[in-house]
Symmetry: C2
Amino acid sequence: MPLNRSFKPNNLVQTIERASSILDLLGQSPQGVSIRELSAKIKLPKGTIHRLLSSLSYFGYVRQDSKTRNYLLGFKLVELGNLLLNQLDLRKEAEPFLKDLAERTKETVHMVVLDRNEVVYIDKVETDQHTSGLKMASRIGLRNPAHSSAVGKTLLAHFSDEELKNFIEEKGLAKRAENTITDSAQLRDHLKNVRAQGYAVDDEENEKGIRCVAAPIYNEGGKPVAAISISGPAFRITKKMIQESIKKEVMETALKISQRLGFRERK
Amino acid sequence: MPLNRSFKPNNLVQTIERASSILDLLGQSPQGVSIRELSAKIKLPKGTIHRLLSSLSYFGYVRQDSKTRNYLLGFKLVELGNLLLNQLDLRKEAEPFLKDLAERTKETVHMVVLDRNEVVYIDKVETDQHTSGLKMASRIGLRNPAHSSAVGKTLLAHFSDEELKNFIEEKGLAKRAENTITDSAQLRDHLKNVRAQGYAVDDEENEKGIRCVAAPIYNEGGKPVAAISISGPAFRITKKMIQESIKKEVMETALKISQRLGFRERK
DNA sequence: AACAGTATTTCGTAATGCGGAACATCCAAT
DNA sequence: ATTGGATGTTCCGCATTACGAAATACTGTT
């Protein structure tokens, strides 16, 4: 048994499960949620919800709008989340290279790690150029399926056959956009190419109109631990551009970061 | 450590209290913590700690290093923390103004809100100029005492006498650096000035060698809901510079943001 | 002023989480 | 390889903890 990441639906502490549902709901509601609503959505009596909220609130995970009395996510989460990000020295080391890459390509640069077989954004650098483009909200913290993103694919490409099989069984290959690869045989082939090439392209597979180019970052043990990418509108990130310059830029930057982490290229 | 504020020391759900202690400890340990250590520090049997960690891990609040088996903060915290930040439309509206301010002054710009009578950093913009200066770690999510920071003081300046009294009683006026104002009468006087002037200066009161200039942001109801500041080394942020340009820049930017939020200046 | 919708508190009950101890696993040293 | 020590993980009977229905206290509205 390859010690799969925390899958154990029994033994769960009820309180933590309930607290987690509450936080999830609050995460979806910028304007906050009332106890009554929470009570309705998680089917639990108001009193119970209230007790949990009191404790969560005392420790800062939740806060209450003094006007509406609605409950909202608390700043303790920002604190802990950013502590985590700052603990990743990977991120610290990569930062200057990411800025440089963004500067040179004038496109948005992302950095991700794989967590529980999903892609999690841990950094983002954009140039002043296209910053005010569309979505200003930072993607940091966001989770995406691995099979439909360039970053995810560069990481999946290093999975063993069995790991990949598990991944597909566990997560499935949901169709996120028109070009998403949803066939497992096709994905296997595709990943073989990705691995050989050393980079991956997301050709509107995750979001219509968006193309990305990604390359993996290796630690000193040669293990892929993260990935970086350049993303932008398909009309700017053309296939020609990718071949002529972008793929080279991304791969070179990824290699520099890997080397910074102690990786030595082997022949 | 005892973050007393939202009153209710009883009624606390034990599990949440314990889970919170665990997360706090993990937050202090970039390399992770073993069950044994946790068990020792939080004086609870290994079995108990393990059970809590399993649940926390299942929901993503904690992750386990597959090599060392140590436990670390989980990416769910990054996810929720950033959801919260992106929910603050205050932040969204302010962003372009902050960038502009950073660009024009070539110094680091911060934005904070008051949470439980402490300052919490919710945004930071730095120019490429001094970015590689010293501390690269983002301050986002960080908490600071209100009485020793420029941002904090501009917000305290709008407290009623009673609110201020409560604040001082609850939090005290800890000496953070040589110039920290630790006398409550003196603080009262100082805040009166801050309010009259419309801006506050942190003259190495929080950290040796660092000066900051801050101004408050008002919502449409005229209530101060946040503050912004410019910070930098004392040799660059001279008192002369503050008077000649910086205070004006900060105040003007703060006003623009306030207006963006619907604030109308009243005479 | 009365009402309606909510948030909060109470309190007797049993289910939940507790934690000591057994078991498994990993790693280092022989 | 084998052993031993240390740590992580699981088990299970017990009592404490959290439960949740209902009563009470708000808060704003007509």
